[in-house]
Amino acid sequence: MARGGWFRRPLRNGNRPAPVPGDLWTKCPRCGEISFTRDLERNLKVCPKCGYHHKLTARERIQMTVDPDSFEEIDAGVCSLDPLGFPEYAEKLMRAQQATGLCDAIVTGYARIEGYPLLLAAADFAFMGGSMGGALGEKVVRMMERAVRERLPVVVFTANGGGARMQEGLFSLMQMAKTSAGVALLHREAVPYIVVLTDPTMAGVYASFASLGDIILAEPGATIGFAGRRVGNQDLGVKLPDDFQTAEFQQRCGMVDRVVPRREMRGTLALLLGLLAEERAHAE
């Protein structure tokens, strides 16, 4: 898939096209509250009435999180292929690229948070549900290998509702092993790795690099789990808890360290980066 003309504009301004008039207002999917989109954005896209955390694009997430002008993207040109010739995949890919201005469902790069340098990844649900194909896996591993070489901590914002991208078949399943191999390197080399689970993080992504953080944070109310409610083989008569497969449920089950509201995320990450920052080994 060659880089077409459509590809340039969104990449250059690094964001979605300007909102059409209908986007002036945004309706909260949880409580129905209608807010000025601009007000909502000032509130970090958190519903002022019920606290619902709207999904963010990868670029919005990065902008909200890192020090101004500190983000330096890497591997931006890594694009998915259609190795199986899977029905409709090529078209879907192109539409996702056009809609998001991204090559694939994750953006990686260098950044600083309150001065602390790090490598950061942010997934974009709008790109085919944030699903993990060969491009995503490659970008994640490259970032992790770079983190090991340069001894920089890694922060990953997940939003991969689709888990592995089935259109890439067994290749996509293997991204679970590939990204976890990256984490194994970080782990062996004691490079700090912080995961922030955002809405939604499921299946093959949650069952690989997303649940391997030294510290795992999550946004309030985010859907996080293995198999979708309908996909899961639920035993008859078992009543699912109301908060089944949410951030809060996962914290109760011991999988998540803290549920952190978006407003506190940047400060929390800065605090953690400071606490985990490398020191000279004590006399080793």
């Binding site: 898939m1 340039r8 990449l11 250059r12 591997d75 931006a76 040109g77 890594v78 998915s80 292929l81 190795p83 199986l84 899977f86 029905p87 090559c103 194909g133 060969g134 491009a135 896996g137 490659e138 592995a164 089935m166 890439e168 078949g169 067994l170 290749f171 996509s172 399943l173 293997m174 991204q175 679970m176 092993a177 590939k178 976890s180 191999a181 984490v183 194994a184 390197l185 299946a203 093959g204 949650y206 069952a207 690989s208 690099f209 997303a210 649940s211 391997l212 789990g225 293995f226 996909v231 899961g232 083989n233 639920q234 035993d235 699912l240 808890p241 089944f244 497969q245 089950c253 999988m255």
Partner: protein
């Protein structure tokens, strides 16, 4: 003769029945006398039908569709992990428990000897009859199963025993309890730990390689697939449900997913295909075991020549390169600006 033939096995089943009938006739002296009088040679007739059967078998199995492969991989009479362990190993001593809170019978394993050498073997275990199937949760492992598997892998590493792992699962368990016990986390931890494990790991996908539930014990230095095994990111039924909102189009999905051993080998995602007896492993488990044993032995002996560092480096490189992508030239905003 098989009890529950698949659709495409029905011809064979009919020929098998005919052969059986002829053989029984041949054992009845009065029938034999009668046949002889009529100039009918029962033995020759049996030989004819047997030849036809072989021919038909060859024909059928030369033209299996991906969906037929799915059916084969799930065949209820296929040998399972414990069958292979018994046929391939001596002195098997099964170990139980994850040391956390349970023993999951959907994954079995223990110490054994393979060609005289102590090894750790483990794998998913489906059940043969209804009761065992339920007890083993149809081979769908819960978190305790993956933890037991990891415990055995660490035992292997500690005592420098190679690992032989059999994969045969529809998927990992996904009910409320599995979620509460962190099925995702457990699989992820296995993936991370297997990559760095300092002993040789030979994996054989013997039936269903069902997504994360399979991969969670399948990060091997060598991954072999039996000829009629499948390996897939999603069950074809689930894929059809997502794509076309119609689980009945599973056969089409199986085609699209390219989940056969042949595809996995072409893609470079598995290392070798282990041929099955004509008609499938279940028609001659002993022959299948012999072939599989030879394949494992060959790969294991190559791996035993490597140091732990060389092993883990190669294993990392193997999984690290998986996937297909392209890289476009880096986009420089200034250049773009000039172009516009």
């Amino acid at each position: 003769m098989l009890n529950n033939p698949l659709d495409f096995e029905k011809d064979i089943a009919e020929l098998d029945a005919l052969i059986a009938e002829l053989k029984q006739m041949g054992r009845d002296p009065s029938v034999r006398a009668d046949a002889a009088q009529k100039g009918i040679d029962i033995e020759a007739r049996i030989a004819e039908v047997e030849a036809a059967r072989e021919e038909r078998l060859r024909q059928i199995f030369a033209n299996l569709t991906p969906w037929n492969q799915v059916q084969m991989a799930r065949h209820p009479q296929r040998p399972y992990t414990l069958d292979y362990i018994r046929m391939l190993c001596d002195d098997f001593f099964e170990l139980y428990g994850d040391r956390i809170n349970a023993d999951d019978p959907a994954i079995v394993g223990g110490l054994a000897r393979f060609q005289g050498r102590p090894v750790v073997v483990l794998g998913h275990q489906k059940g043969r009859d209804l009761k065992e199937r339920q007890q083993r949760n149809f081979g769908s492992a819960r978190p305790a199963g993956f933890r037991k598997a990891l415990r055995l892998m660490k035992l292997a590493e500690k005592f420098r025993k190679p690992l032989i792992i059999f994969v045969d699962t529809p998927a990992a368990e996904a009910n409320l309890m599995a979620e509460e016990e962190g099925i995702s986390t457990t699989i992820a931890v296995n993936l991370r730990e297997m990559i760095m494990l300092r002993v040789p790991i030979v994996v054989a996908v013997i039936g269903e390689g069902g997504s994360g539930g399979a991969l969670g014990i399948a990060v091997g230095d060598r991954v072999l697939m039996l000829e009629h095994a499948i390996y897939s990111v999603i069950p074809p039924e689930g894929c059809a449900a997502i794509l076309w909102k119609d689980r009945n189009r599973a056969a089409e999905a199986a085609e699209a997913l390219k989940l056969t051993a042949r595809h996995a080998l072409e893609f470079g995602l598995v290392d070798a295909i282990v041929p099955e007896p004509i008609g499938g492993a279940h028609r001659d488990p002993q022959a299948m075991a012999a072939t599989l044993k030879a394949a494992i032995a060959e790969h294991l002996s190559a791996l035993l020549a490597l140091s732990p560092d060389a092993l883990t480096q190669a294993r990392y490189a193997k999984f690290r390169q998986m996937g297909r992508w392209q890289e476009l030239p880096a986009v420089h905003p200034e250049v773009e600006a000039l172009e516009t």
